[in-house]
């Protein structure tokens, strides 16, 4: 069995149509992707770096692909409110894989550029040509598949010296009434001394269909820039997600990537950071709350290619029921890169006898004057803390919830947007209370209090 074959065949059949509808730049990359996929196979469970997740299985389902770019009638702005109280954002939607801007999108106009690839290819051909597909590694068959089938994407460009006043909020919704796979693609270029915060949230409107989001995000952070990328997933048990985020950091840049999974089906998140400038700072945060049959697998790789840079990583998992969590993180310090400080932490709570956790923290250090560490722990809630709370009249369930909330609190504290921080505390509280999925009125399940 080769799950990739169905998509390759589909591409070969509708190649002309796809190429007609896409900017030439995407087509150039597409040809390379087609070659790359010729003999490629998706990794099976148990193979190196895929100890817990079977990508072959993830892609094996017969998903529809919107080759014809048929519009879906639902107006996302109408159907959907992804609301963070007290946070004024420039809001964009993607419904399945088509982008829409909302009324609030124009707020940053003249400064920050947010355009679909189809327009950006005309407006900023040099930038697109220089950076599209440069970071994403096509040796990964899922990235190659994205490059093969993607027809449009979102281009975010912050020119030198511009600091975006408002965060960009990108709401990705699956609302097709059929099983569907989409290729989402994001290219974020942040110029010298510029700054931006991006909040992307993935939602699914219907729990009855199988969806697969195969996304690639490329982030270029120039000298002295500051980039925050928050990636929040709230989807359904039938949703699959394979996400690869690639970051290229230049001198003095400060990048924060935060991946949060509250509800999902099977998710694989890859984070690949190349630190190419001195004094650069990297923060990678991750939080997963999983129960039922949820499956979350995060892979991080930070390569320190220049001396005197820092990185900080913290991933926390709370697993209940039959949930499966996996974390693998590698820190690489290349030869001739002294004074690197790199810390990596992975803490996991296993709350049920059938929950499983796989963790693989790794250090690869080729120079001596460094301070690097990693720590990983899998355990349960502190019995004594639980006992203490019960002696104070707090019920067992309540005490467990409080402790679990406290457990993930420091990941939330790493968020650099106050309003979002408050919102996350609230969402997590609701998630632990089990009421998150019952939010009435909003299908996306995160409408406010």
């Amino acid at each position: 069995m080769n799950a990739l074959q169905q998509y390759i065949d589909l591409f070969d059949e509708s190649r002309e149509l796809i190429e007609q509808q896409s900017p030439e730049l995407l087509n150039t990359m597409r040809r390379a992707a087609r070659e790359q996929l010729q003999d490629a196979r998706l990794p099976r469970k148990g193979s190196e770096d895929y100890e817990a997740t079977d990508l072959e299985e993830v892609f094996a389902h017969d998903y529809g692909v919107n080759v014809n770019r048929l519009p879906f009638d639902a107006d996302p702005g109408e159907a959907f409110h992804c609301d963070v109280p007290n946070l004024s954002t420039c809001l964009y939607y993607s419904s399945n894989d088509a982008f829409h801007s909302s009324a609030t999108a124009e707020r940053n106009i003249g400064k920050v550029v947010v355009e679909p690839f189809s327009i950006a290819a005309h407006d900023y051909p040099e930038l697109m040509a220089a950076h599209y597909g440069r970071l994403a590694n096509m040796d990964d068959p899922t990235v190659a598949l994205n490059s093969l089938l993607v027809q449009d994407g979102l281009f975010i460009y912050v020119p030198d010296g511009v600091v975006a006043e408002r965060p960009i909020q990108l709401v990705n919704i699956f609302n097709a009434a059929l099983d569907m796979m989409v290729q989402r693609r994001l290219l974020i270029i942040v110029g010298k001394n510029a700054g931006i915060k991006v909040l992307a949230c993935d939602h699914t409107q219907s729990p009855d269909y199988h969806y697969l989001n195969n996304q690639v995000v490329e982030i270029v952070a120039m000298q002295g820039s500051s980039v925050d990328y928050y990636d929040l997933e709230e989807s359904t048990p039938l949703t699959r997600r394979v996400s690869s985020i690639y970051v290229d950091q230049h001198e003095g840049s400060n990048v924060l990537i935060d991946g949060i999974t509250l509800t999902n089906g099977i998710t694989r998140n890859n984070y690949h950071v190349e630190v190419n400038g001195e004094h650069a700072e990297t923060h990678l945060l991750g939080m997963t709350i999983a129960s039922g049959e949820q499956h979350v697998d995060s892979h991080t790789f930070i390569s320190h290619n220049k001396p005197r840079c820092n990185s900080n990583e913290m991933f926390k998992y709370v697993l209940n029921d039959n949930a499966v969590g996996a974390f693998a993180g590698k820190i690489l310090v290349k030869p001739g890169c002294p004074r690197v400080e790199a810390y990596q932490g992975n803490r996991n709570l296993c709350g049920a006898p059938t929950a499983k956790m796989y963790t693989k923290p790794q250090l690869e250090i080729y120079t001596d004057d460094v301070m690097c560490s990693h720590g990983s722990a899998v355990g349960q809630l502190d019995e004594e803390a639980l006992f203490y709370m019960r002696t104070r009249g707090i019920g067992l369930d309540e005490a467990r919830r409080l402790l679990m909330q406290a457990f993930v609190a420091d990941v939330i504290e790493g968020v650099r947007l106050d309003a979002l921080k408050d919102r996350l505390h609230y969402l997590v509280e609701k998630r632990f209370a089990g009421t998150l999925s019952n939010c009435a009125g909003c299908l996306a399940a995160c409408k406010g209090s």
Binding site: E51, A352, K356, L363, I365, D368, D369, H374, V378
Partner: protein
Amino acid sequence: MKEKEKPEKKNKIIEEAAEAEYKYGFVTDIETEVIPKGLDEDVVRRISALKGEPEWLLEFRLKAYRHWLTLKAPTWGHVHVPEIDYQDISYYAAPRHKKEGEAKEIDPELKKTFDKLGIPLEEQLRLSGMAVDAVMDSVSVKTTYRERLAELGVIFCSISEAVKDYPDLVRKYLGKVVPYTDNFYAALNSAVFSDGSFVYIPKGVRCPMELSTYFRINAAQTGQFERTLIVADDDAYVSYLEGCTAPMRDENQLHAAIVEIIVEDRAEVKYSTVQNWYPGDKDGKGGIYNLVTKRGLCRGDHSKLSWTQVETGSAITWKYPSCVLKGDHSVGEFYSVALTNNWQEADTGTKMIHLGKNSTSTIVSKGISAGHSQNSYRGMVKIAPKASGCRNFTQCDSLLLSDTSGAHTFPVIEVGNDTSVVEHEATTSKINEDQIFYCNQRGISTEDAVGLIVNGYAKEVMAKLPMEFAVEAQKLLSVSLEGAVG
């Protein structure tokens, strides 16, 4: 200015250290019987015939050989094992006895060799009361204290003798912990293994002395494939030591051993290794490829297996002494100091497989890399879903003494239930300059200060070694480290 001076001084001291001689690099001029190079079924049959083995063992070897042919050498390790021409190695080398009739007497040359290594083979010379099995190339030369041990029912002899004298025991346990299908080198070893020690501690016996095997590669262009099998029956206890050296040669030599340990109810086995195979010269020429499979099965409830290793030798080390904790409340321990210098590469660590309820394991690994060496810790802690209440603590620290060396950690943790606790911590850093400065202030040279600091750093592991070995290991660490100042 100070910054500038330092690297020069550092380089000088490293150079000196690199030039320090490998103490055990001599060759014994002894007549050796070596079978021609090459490996095929006939060679396997010939080894078996030379050792006068029973039919079942030959079958075992042949099965392993046929399986080996289907395998490829593993490449996942963080070491660069060059393509080894397995037809260019001689698989059996035995020091020849001068006269057939004097088979029981040890050749004086041989005795001198082991005296030089500090392994006296004559009981009367022994003060420490340690039973020694000395293995040179492919055969066991002499096992001391056998009679005294036999009084207690303890069997300590070479595995070839055990095959003859205790065939049932050997047949019952051989290949049960490390089957020949385990990996490439294990299959090769199972096909051509030559000698090694066999230890059986009967029920309820606490072995009164340390048992020790000394391995020596002497003949050129041969490989050493020893096989050790230790069985501790219910309530037994044994402490077993292993040491190894080899002559200095320009070509690389292969050492692919298997150690199997079985620990029954409430029994305890302590296995200590001081590995000092020839590491190659300062340019990385020569040295032993140490590619071994070591595994113990804690089969009984409340059984305990403890691995302690000090790895300073070998050009390439690929070694993961592991514990399968099958019994409830069983305990696995792994304490390791791995020091690499010049162009050495070490990829070592452990596997703790928790199958029994309430089993616990501790891993303490200290890596020290100097020169251009690469030092990796690779480990796995796996808690099976049914193994409730398990506990693991892992700590692996790396100390970097030069900016051209590398230190890596590759742990894998799999937890299958909610009553077990697994912790892993790792740090990598260079030697603390403040500490060196402090020592300098007190008139301690930088070199001595590094020795002090490193010995302190490794102390946690050293303390687990039996006394006789601890002294040797400490010296060895200082010698190997000499001057590798960071």
